[in-house]
Symmetry: C2
Subunit: 185 residues, 2 copies
């Protein structure tokens, strides 16, 4: 549903990113945020003495294309389909940098695989996961930040982040189960 596609962005960027958009505003309204993020990443990399490469920009684009939670391999697949050849290793390396730049953050959905979400400028979200279909719904969770800060204070901790995941059975899966029971007897 985004009017400005990431592809458009990367084309613009490739035109001459080395002089464009050097001073990014620290934050911006939801959709507008897409342009600056590229600059923010570039600025972050420069500050660390790192380089803003074609691959890193393409990966950022792919990330911006994801509306919700995603996995490393998903990015790889989708980039391959879009004929953007990037290696697995580079994806993992770049995701790490994007986390340090606070552009994405990790979401704990299960313990076998890392899940990420675009988090820059967004408030932390909770996640409602269907255990049957793996559907993931995000919901706002401002109250949890308060709870977090209270608990950290109680234990003398310095808060860093928090994660709240609810597991349940989605309406669709409930219907499917019911149908199965009906047909079995």
């Amino acid at each position: 549903m985004l009017a400005v596609g990431p592809t458009a962005l990367s084309v613009a960027v490739w035109g001459g990113y080395n002089t464009v958009m050097s001073k990014a505003p620290p934050a911006a309204a939801d959709d507008q945020m897409i342009m600056p993020l590229c600059a923010i990443f570039r600025r972050f990399l420069k500050r660390q003495g790192l380089k803003f490469t074609t691959e890193r920009a393409l990966i950022l684009d792919a990330v911006l294309d994801k509306p919700g939670v995603f996995e490393a391999d998903e990015l790889l697949q989708e980039m391959r389909e879009a004929d953007h050849r990037v290696s697995k290793a580079t994806i993992y390396r770049t995701l790490k940098h994007l986390m340090e730049a606070k552009i994405i953050s990790e979401v704990l959905i299960d313990s076998r695989q890392a899940h990420y979400r675009l988090s820059f400028g967004k408030e932390p979200k909770g996640h409602l996961v269907c255990v049957e279909t793996n559907q993931i719904i995000e919901f706002p969770a401002a109250e949890l930040t308060e709870l977090r800060d209270r608990l950290c204070k109680e234990h003398g901790f310095d808060p860093v982040s928090h994660r709240f995941v609810i597991y349940g059975i989605s309406p669709e899966a409930q219907k499917a189960e019911q149908a199965e029971r009906d047909s079995e007897g």
Copy 2:
């Protein structure tokens, strides 16, 4: 700090578990719960047409010995030290059964490795994790169950479980960081 050690339990069990403690009370006070759990697991296995083996009992013992969150490999190590030789594969297979029996549950601490906790008869807990030292503190989280049920209702989900993890820097780690800064600058 438990008066009744798991070792004592397993010895008792080995004396003749096949006739003892067949009818376990559905729940019990905190410490008393240790005995019945063995029976509950046995009953669960029988119901599934599975067998209550030496290895499974030893693993349950090892689990009961853990006060908080633990990992599969941790169990393996500690069982080896106690000279209880059980294979990695059996540990994983048994942990799966213990989860189905609702005796333990998975806790999401990070995405590389599964973490578990004894959950039978306990209310769900939240976890406060130090990102520097990996220290884990459990805290009660009854209010989250309400929040979970409310959100599930809103989305038509059937609640199954939920997890809340807070990441922060423990007082100890804060002191260490401060000391480091002092010596450097």
